[in-house]
Amino acid sequence: MNQVKCDCGHVNPHGTILCEACGKIIEDGTQITAEPVIDMRYEGSARRSQTYNKSMIDKVWNFFSSVKVGVWLIVVTLIASSLGTILPQEMYIPNIMPVADYYEDQYGWFGRLYYDLGFHNLYSSWWYLLLIAAIGVSLVICSLDRVVPLYRALKKQRVIRHESFLQRQRIFGTTSMAVSKDSYELVKEQLKKKHYNIREDEGNILAEKGRFSRWGPYVNHVGLIIFLFGSMLRFVPGMYIDEILWLREGETKVIPETDGQYYLKNVDFKLEVYDKETDNEAFSDALDSAGMVAKNYQSDVILYKTKGNTVAGEEPELEEVESSSIRVNEPLKFEKFALYQVNYKLDELSKMSFLLTNKTSGETFGDITINLNDPEKMYELDNGYSVELMSYFPDFEFGDDGNPTTKSRVPNNPAFVFKMYSPEKPEGEVSFVAIQQTIEPLGDNEYKMAFNGIETKDVTGLTVRKDLTLWIIGLGGLIFMIGVIQGAYWNHRRIWIQRKGDEVWVAAHTNKNWFGLKREIQLVLTGTEIKEPMDQLKDNQVDEGETD
C-alpha cells in the first residue's frame, strides 16, 4: 500500500489529510481547503471510506460509514415506530374475534387498511427488523471507519506541530516576545491545576485532557451492538421462555418448560382493593371518583421439586422447595425461572351439588357433589339409589350439528347428562341438566337432579419466564450508558504552547464546549506575558462540524 511520508519524517497511511505526527496538511491536491480553520474532524486521519471506492465492498462500506445514511436510518425508524402507535398492536387487542375483523369493526376502513398494511404487527414486520439490522450494520461500520484512524492519530501526535496546523486552529494567537522561565513554569503549574497532562519537547508544551471522552461514541456504539445482539439471541431455542400457567386454588401443576422438575401449588389467591375506612384517608376523594381500585394481586404458592426420577405416567414424589407469595412487582424466582402474577379469575365454578329428588313427592334421596374439574363416573347413594354421569360438558354450547358440545375445558357453563337409578327405575332415567335448563330426552322422568348449590375457587394466571439473554442486554445497556456519559460529560481539550523564533504561539482545540475551553485558557495564562489567543471563528457564523 502506498504510504505518505510527511516532511517531518512520519509515515502516514494512504488517505491521510493531516499528518498524524505534526499535523501538516498532506498535499495530494484534493484535500486542501481555503478555510481559515482546518477541519479537525477525526484529526484529518485516513478513513477507509474517504480513501477507497472501487470494489463492491468499498461501496457498501462507504454507504454504511456515512453519518448521513445513519441519520436517515434513525429518522426512518423513528417515523416507522410512530406509525405503530396509531392503533393498538395485535398483542394488545382482546381475543374476541379474528384480528382482521376486529380492526375493521373497531376502526372502520382505516382499521382495515392498517391491518392490510401489516401495521397491526409493525414491530415484528420484516421491514422494521431490516431497518433495525441496517442501523446495527451502520453502527459497526461507522465506528470502525473512524475509531481506528482516530486512535492512530491521537497516539502518534507529537508535541511540536507544524506551523500551518497551529495557525489554522480555531483558537490561535501569538505573543511577540520570548517567554520568561517564570511564565513558562507558571503556565505549566496552572495547567496541572486544571488537570491537564503535559508533554514537553524543547520548551514546547502540549497540554491535553479528557482524551478518553473521544472514545465515548465508540464505546456507546459497542454497547448498542451488544444490546442488539442480545435481542437477537431470544430467537435461539432455549434462551427464552414465555408461558402462561393457570392454577386453581388447591391445585398443583407442573411448571411448563421445567422438564417436569418443578411443580407449583396455588394455596390461595387474593385480590385486595383499597378501602376508605382502613387505608390512608388521603385517598378517599380519589376512591370516591374512581370507585374500586386494586391494591394487591397475590398468589400464595408452594414450589415443589420432584424427587429422583419419575417414570412417565406415575405420580411424581414432590419435595417442598419454598412457600412464597407472588405479587405484581415481586415475582418468584428459582433457578433461571421467574413466575409473575399477571392474571386471575375470581370465583370460577369448582363444585356443583345436586339432590336426587322425586318430582311428584318432592322427597329427596341424598345429594351428590361433582368436582367440575375432575368429575367421577358413578355417585352411589344409600338405599339402592345411584347416579351415573354419562356425559359432562364443562363449557357447554350447542354445536353446529345441534348436539351439545363444549367450548373449552374450563367450567364456565357446565352441563351434565345424568342417568338416575332408583329401585323403581333400575334401568335408569336420562336427564340433561345445564344451568337454568333441564331436558328429558327420553320422555317424562320420575326423578330429577335438583340443583343444590355451588362452590367456587379463584384461579391465578402466572407468566412463566426464562430469559437467558437478560445479562447480555443489561451489559449492552451498561456499556452504552458508560459510553454516552464518557462522551457527553467530558471534553477532549488540547492546548499547544510553542516557541517560534521570538514569538510564543498558542493554539487550542476541543471537541465541544468552546466557551469552557476559552475560559480555561484565560485562567491558565493569567499572570504571564502570553496573550490570550483569539477565536478565529468568532462573529463568523459557525458552520463547521465539531470533531467527533
Partner: protein
Amino acid sequence: MITLSENLLYIAFIFYLLSIPFFGGAIKQKKNLDHQQNSGKWATFGIVISIIGFAAQLGFFFTRWSIAGHAPVSNLFEFTTFFGMCLVGAFIIIYFIYKTPLLGLFTMPIALLVIAFASMFPTDISPLIPALQSDWLHIHVTTVALGEAILAVSFGAALIYLVKVIDQTKKSKSTTWLEVVMYGLIATLGFVIVVSAFSFADYKAEFNWVDKNDNEAKVEYHLPALVGPNQGELLTDGKMEPLVSVPGIINAKKLNTVIWSFGAGILLYGLFRLVLRKRIGAALKPFTKNINLDLVDEISYRSVLIGFPVFTLGGLIFAMIWAQIAWTRFWGWDPKEVWALITWLFYAAFLHLRLSKGWHGERSAWLAVIGFIIIMFNLVAVNLVIAGLHSYAGS
C-alpha cells in the same frame, strides 16, 4: 396537611410568575449581558424569587409524599407538576453556570404553563395500583422528568436563538413557523383559561350517548359541548346543545376540549397581534438584543448533551428494568415505550447532525424545538389519546 401542601404549590406558582418581570427588567437594565458580566440587581431578585418558588414547590412535593406514602409522580397532575419543578431546577443550575437572566424570561413562562396545564387534571391523591407499587416508580419517573426537563431547557434556549436570529422585517417560512410555536404555547394558555373559567362557574352538562359497541353510556362535560357524543342526548337543563356530533369511535369530550383550547388560543393570539401590531416573534425580539448568539446556541446544545444521558437512563434503562420486574418483559411496544424510543432516536439524530454534519445555530435550534414537541406529545397525547399500559398516568 393536604391544604398546606396545595398552598405551597400556589405559592410556588405565584413566585415563578413574579420572577418573570424581574428577568425582563434585568435585560432592559443591562446593556451588555455576556456571561462574564455581573447580571445586576434585577436578575439577582429574579433568581432569588425563582429559588424561593422552587423551595416552595419542593415543600409541596415532600409534604404530598408524606401524606400519600409514595412520591407524588403517579398521575398526570403529579408527574407534570414535577416536570415543571425539574424545569425550574434545571434553569436555576444553568443560570449559575452561564448567568443569563434572559433564559429565565423564556424558561419560567414555559414552566408556569406546564404547571398550570397539570392543574387542569384531577389533583386527588390517588392510591397506587399494584403495578406501581415499587421503588422503581420513584427512580424511573423522577429520572425521566429530570431528563425531559433538561431537554426542555434546550428548547427555551433554542427559542431565544430563533427569536433573535430570525429576520422579522419580512415574512418568511421561519417567521411563520416561529409564530406556530408561539401559537402552540398560547393555545396551552387558552386551554388553562377555558378549563379554569368553566370549572369556576361549575359548568356541568350530562349526556346520554351510545358508544362504539352500541352500549348506552353517560358522560359529563365540563365545557359547553361544541362537539357532542354519538347520538348524544342532553340531560342537564339549560346547557348548550352540541353543534355537531361525532361517531362513537371518537372521544367527543376530549375532542371538544381540544377544539375549545385551539379556539381560545386563536382568540388570544389574535388579541396579542392586535395589541402588539406585529408578530409575537417580532415583539419578543427586542428582549434578545444583547444576548450572545453563540452562548444560547451552546446552552441549547449542552442541555441536550446533559439531558440525553439522563433521559436514556430514566426513560429507557430504568424503564426496562422496571418493566421486566412488573410486566415480565423489558420491552413490549406499548405506545409510551415506543414514544420514549422515538424521543431517544430523535435526540440521537440531533447529536449526530450536530457533531458530524455541523448543524449548528438555527438548524440546531429548530431541532431542539421539534424535540420538545415530541416530549410534549409523549406527555400529553400518548396519555390522553393513545393510552396503553401507561394510561393510569392519565386522568
